[in-house]
Amino acid sequence: MNSTDPVGAAAGDAAQAAWAHVEVSRHPDRPYSLDLVQRCLDDFIELHGDRQGGDDAAVVIGLARLGGQPLAVVANQKGRTLEERGKRNFGMAHPEGYRKAQRLFTLAGRLKLPVVSFIDTPGAYPGVAAEERGQAWAIAQTLEAQLALPTPYLAVVIGEGGSGGALATLLADSVLVLEHAFLSVASPEAAAAILFRDAGRKQQAAAALRLEAANLLEWGIADEIVPEPPGGAHTDWDETARLLRPRLEARLLELTSRGFDPARRRERYRRLDGLFSA
């Protein structure tokens, strides 16, 4: 890029800013779902398995309370140590992970529990075994399960929101996004590979996709940006949780106190792009 070209320089700045955002969301010391579940929710009890023969550790489900309100919880989970990263598969679920989420939605519906989901995944796992066991079908059915869920549903994107794998636990009544988290149609690397046939142009792709949290709020895909400690959530987990917990509590109260109707959630996602009048 020619530095004397003002248009090119501006594009370069945008690419750098977008990429910095992605790097903070992926910071190795960033709090992962269980770090925030333990700090924001009370009495978390983990449950296991999809009840169909699998228990994908990339997705965590369980029960908890928040301000006295019992909840069902679903979360993408990344690992921090080498061993845990392998076990959690870097937060990338196989079909069993999505079926585990479906089981949680079913349970929540039966027991009339609101659902809170924590999103932090590069995307669904791109592997042979995942495809053989119906990765696309599992995600599609999870989308369907979310839109049929008869109880209030709150989602918070805490780090990476990668593609269809993130969407599988995002279609909530209220969507919160941490300041340095993002949601994208594809990872910047994958988008660059498709658009430029060069995964190395990930910065440029990140800027073009406009994947930062602020845009999600502007477009109505997110309802609220939750601030992080200065520098990012990785600098202070307790402070991150201290900022997040009251927002979860307030949003949950708002959802549970008004006359709740899951048809409104379907209408939200039906009309989301706001481009076409009915």
Partner: protein
């Protein structure tokens, strides 16, 4: 969400048609007569949305819905070219406002709502306009109690529409909820290719799922899987037959039998819909 490179598009040379797989050339009339299935190797060439409707709908019955529904460049997206230029060129070439054609039709005398993806239009990818036209066709089918038939040929998300493209997965599934509430059947037909966000949303949710032979179907494309995991791909990976063997697709149907198979399905399913219509709710 990449486009499968396995199947070249058919090349038309003067009045001849060359099969993208075996490279043999046939007179155009012969190729059209076999519905662009190669008479020699049975390779199913990709066909346009208009051609698909000609093949499936009873003659003269297709009435297009939302013919003017077009989207825009919400992100001001530029990759190697400006998205607005890509869109303008595709509209001109494919004679469609975006990558899908929808409308009312009859198939073997049975009324249906019919949607057909156009792979030639930016890889049949999911734009806001495609998602909207698809959702409206689903909803109108629910209201008019028409079984909904969708033929998908799509690489998945349209990168140039970013997160708006991703959200079309949610939009299409939200619309399908209405079809289910009206107890109207959805027949999903997977043509080459059906990948990424398309198969991971509406296309996988058919009450009955059919696929054309050797269509490439899957969440992540083979090239991306190999790059990400260095895994060896099994023979026939992600073909229709591969998914059929794993219980994910009901039947693999040759294009030359597709209309007849649909007719038989609709004779059973359509009858149940008509009966419901006469029954008090």
């Amino acid at each position: 969400m990449a486009i499968s490179p396995a199947y070249a598009r058919p090349r038309t040379v003067d009045s001849g048609f060359t099969c993208g797989a075996c490279q043999r050339t046939f007179p155009m009339a012969q190729a059209a007569g076999s519905l662009y299935v190669c008479p020699a190797c049975e390779h199913h060439s990709r066909i346009s949305a208009h051609e698909r409707v000609r093949q499936l709908a009873d003659k003269g019955t297709f009435q297009e819905w939302d013919p003017d529904l077009a989207g825009s460049d919400r992100l001001g997206f530029v990759d190697t070219r400006a998205y607005v230029d890509r869109l303008a060129e595709a509209r001109q070439r494919q004679q469609l406002p975006d990558a899908i054609l929808t409308g009312a039709a009859s198939i073997c005398g049975h009324p249906v709502g019919l949607a057909s993806f156009d792979f030639g239009f930016l890889g049949g990818s999911l734009s806001t306009a495609v998602g909207e036209r698809l959702a409206r066709a689903i909803e109108r089918s629910a209201v008019e109690l028409r079984p909904f038939v969708c033929v998908t040929s799509s690489g998945g998300a349209r990168m140039q529409e970013g997160v708006f493209s991703l959200m079309q997965m949610a939009k299409s599934v939200a619309a399908l909820h209405q079809l289910a509430e009206a107890h109207v059947p959805f027949i999903s037909i997977l043509a080459d290719p059906t990948m990424g966000g398309s198969i991971a949303s509406f296309a996988a949710l058919g009450d009955v799922i059919l696929a054309e032979p050797k269509a490439m179907i899957g969440f992540t494309g083979a090239r991306v899987i190999t790059q990400a995991t260095y895994e060896q791909l099994p023979a026939g990976f992600q073909t229709s037959e591969f998914h059929h063997a794993r219980g994910l697709i009901d039947q693999v149907v040759d294009r030359r039998q597709l209309r007849e198979v649909l007719g038989r399905l609709l004779a059973v399913l359509g009858a149940s819909t008509a009966e419901d219509a006469g029954r008090p709710a």
